[in-house]
Amino acid sequence: ACGGSSDAGSTGSSSDSAASSGSSSSGEPFKVVVLSDGAANDQSWSNSVADGLNEIDPSLDVESDFVGPLTTADEYQQQGSSYASNGFDMILITNGGQTSAAVQIAEQFPDVTVCQGPISPTEDDLASFPSNFCAWNLKQQDGTFLAGVVAGLVTQTDVIGSVAGGEFPAVVRQPEGFILGARCVNPDVTIDIQYTGSFSDVGAAQAAAQTEIAGGADVLLSAVDSAVRGLYAAAEGAPRPTFVIPSYFDSYEQAPETVLTSVLYNLNGITADLIAKGAQGELGDADGGDEQYFNYDYANLNVGELADFHGNAAITPEIEAKLAEIEGKLRDGTITVPGEDGADMPLSENGAGSTIDPASIGC
Amino acid sequence: MVIRPPLALELIGITKRYGSFTANDSIDVRVEAGEVHVLLGENGAGKSTLLNTVYGHQRPDSGSILVNGREVAFASPADALAAGIGMVHQHFSLVDSFTVAQNVVLGDEPARGGLLQSAAAERAVQATADRVGWDFDVRRPVGELAVSGQQRVEILKLLHRGARILLLDEPTALLSPTEIDGLLETLDGLRASGCSIVLVTHKLREVTAIADHVTVIRHGQVRQVLGRGEFDEGVLAAAMTGRDRVEPAAVGAPAGGAVTAPRAVAPAGDVLLELSGVSARSDAGTPALQDLSLHVRAGEIVGLAGVEGNGQHELVEAIAGLRPVQSGRIALGGTDVTGWSPRRVRATGLGVVPADRRGWGVVPEMTLVENLALNEVAAGRDRRGGVLQWRAMRRRAQQLVSDYDIRPGNLDATAGSLSGGNMQKLVLARELSAGPRVVVASSPTWGLDVGAVEAVHDRIRAVRDAGTAVLLSSLDLDEVLALADRVLVIYRGRITLDVPRAELRDDGFALAMIGGSVAA
């Protein structure tokens, strides 16, 4: 459902597909590998990233590969260098915790473009990155904000919940954006946020969700990646109709009864966009482009679009209308969801979403 | 011509090799129905190997086994049991936490659809016990029984399974004299009821008391077969060792018999080892030593007699600093060493010859050099500037190996590769050569053959004569009588008898060991 579908490509090589030196002038394809923290078919973050590989403009003659799940810094380094040594031109890392590993690969292989995210680098960080390195970020809170809008309208109990894995900024911003969105349309909503410390422990995720449900929550946002299964399990056994909003991938098929919608961050679009930029030599200041940091949000690349409701009865036409209105405001900048850094109240701080005044951001 | 009934068990040309070493070399044994047939031989002669082969633990390399005239081949003990052969091993094979009944029926449990019929099992076991005339509470956990009781359970197991041929490997090693007499009586009864018994023992007195036939094995080969009337202790000892004639006295004679006399004059040395009012607990937490007091003087061997499990282990461990003492005082050479670590206790001049030489005496996988240096290194000697002095250690090891005639004397071989006797010599070499003021020795000749026993006894007498105080604890009464200048009896963690060897009266002595009241 994402943009980027394009003209039928000619198979010939494009003259500017050379972001890197060496192998590229003679019609060699532009080779890129994605290193991610999940499997290509995890029906979550990595699945969405991997889907992006099929959406690359065919005219660019890109050859791609995908590796996941990778967990430790060493694995990223080893995989990265393995591909780099095998003549790949670009390495895209979709794990926010691996900046050091990514920078190291970039330093070791100056001819290869290395992109890593999601991160929100400081000015100092950006200055210290090598020239063949690029950072990317996605404004997840735009997406969970929209999910919050839906949740705020759907909830019967005025209590919503979120189960999250690790307690670090890239995760914290998700539930905080969620409650902010809900409060934007429903001032009475409160949230129960649980951190389980694991993205794979379905038992813990389920227990956390059950606790929230027992406390009255009837719409749950997942920030636990693959352990979202535990949330389905909890919602299925709930005493009242309870919905789950998974992330990254339209998960309707996984649990048609409980999935309200999914927050799609358009990771596929981001992936395709970054690779296209790479193939066209726009990445890294060494090759003429001077951008090192790409921050994707709802306004610029539909980051945070919600998946189809698949005819869910809880979604009334009024709700759809309200949602469309908020989407419009997000797109035109009337509403600006706070970022992760900022003087006032970064959204990656615990409790921010429940304390920021919705009116102050344009609701 | 008389038609003789087939032999109960006939072994023909049994050969068993371990690698290049031949443990059983074409051995023939003929066991008649209803007899007690003794296998006699030095340590390592191959007796246990032979029994294990018959019982299906291992297959012979060649040779055949006939039971009641029919050739058999056992792949496992189960086959042997099915053919009516049962074996009691040198080390018991009982499940301590199981009841007598459970132990007895194990492997042939009355069950319906996999469900145990406990009541039926208990009744059946009780019936078997009654048949032999043993009084058992079949519901009692075996771990709570005394050694002799456990031994009976072992035999009961075989009888219950219908075994008619019993293979008993050193069943008397752990028993008190009274218990041995009881066992011999039992065997006599079984023989009378038609069972055939193959008995392994090192104690010649038992052989003369019960054997119908004796097969003497040396170096894996049958040397002699003797029938009743053809042997006495001297003949047997000679046949075993291959020497002309061995004085039974050296082996240890019956209590009160002719023995090497203890020294005529009682030594008047200083008290070098003294325990006063010592109490300690066993591993299980039960009282093991209760207000125990004893002393040993310089130049004196004090023999500590007693039935297995009356606190001997704990006593040795308490002296060595391995077991915490709850109350009382232990003094070595006048120094109070109560509560000291083994290292400090050792430093005051204590040598220990433990009963279990493989487990407590040597480190089997270390070399002779390392084993001979064990104490010195532990004491922090044998090093200069923190660096171990291997050359000096080696030199001393070489010296000890030749002094104590440890064979084979390859310094770099592991101690575990030594035979039992040589392993014991190694322990003695280490413990006695440092000039200890006190030596505590537990069953120092346990399981050793006649020749080895002599060597060990000579060494112990030699240190005694050099002025060392020796506390000798032994399950073997004969040994205590052969060596001790003064005899103590330990019973339930207390010293119940303390008399000079010369004044010892046989009856009171034996009685004391099983807890009878004593008038010495």
Partner: protein
Amino acid sequence: MNTVVLATLLVIAIQLMAPVLWASLGEIVAERSGVLNIGTEGCLLLGAWASALVLSHGQSLFVALVAGIGVGVLTGGLLAVLYVWRRVDQIIGGIMVNLLALGLTTALWTLLRGDETSGNAPSLPIPLLSDIPVVGEALFDQNIFVYASIVAAVALFFVLQRTRWGLRLRAAGEAPAALDAAGVSVRRLRVSGLVVGSALAALGGTTLVLTSGAGSFVFDMSAGRGFIALGVVLLARWNPLLALLITAVFGLLQALQFQAQSIGWLSGVPTDVWIAAPYVVAIIAVAVAHGTRYPRAVGVAWTGH
């Protein structure tokens, strides 16, 4: 603490208990037979993987159950080859088996999974009893696999005490020489112990998939439960009923973590403290229960028949 909170706590505790309980039961059987199975974590993971795999190809719950058990049996067979036949050291072998299971399930789930989806196994409210306030729901309205684990604990207790196999199994762990002398093959007993034990542990994985995983596999989803089980077994002194009790306590401890995040005055405690709590408690308990000795022959390979 109000009754809703209490009821939730109990429901969650019991449901968190089930996979650990299965693993503990499996470990009890293995250790009773004289084999220390450090590979329990791997068995759990493999069981979860197999069940989820067949479910993802559209198979029924029953097939998933069979697949879980089947993989457990196969794993037990492999362990038997290693520990019983080849006498591989059990601690090292176990660590390697865990490594193997983690790599294998991750790689093969990626390669082989289907795309059918399924949900949890159904709950089974027991009439009347499940209406009792607070405890009713916790005890009598649970997933069928949760009940099954409890039944299995009771059954295993009975089997160990009252059956011929149980008696022999215990003998194999306590005094294999006695069993051998009685003409029973120690090896065969241990093989059966490993196969049954691994199958029970694998059922823990199946349970995880079908009570919490909504029928799906997640990489490393066992999350250390097999290791907790090792401690549980020690504390329970190889008694299945005690294991039931102890795993329930562990479940409660873990369940508290989530209440704590909701309850105001406890929310200041870092989440990590709660996550580490079951392990810390297990360590303390293992240290305090120092008198506990393994069945005498555990960890020692049998060299005879």
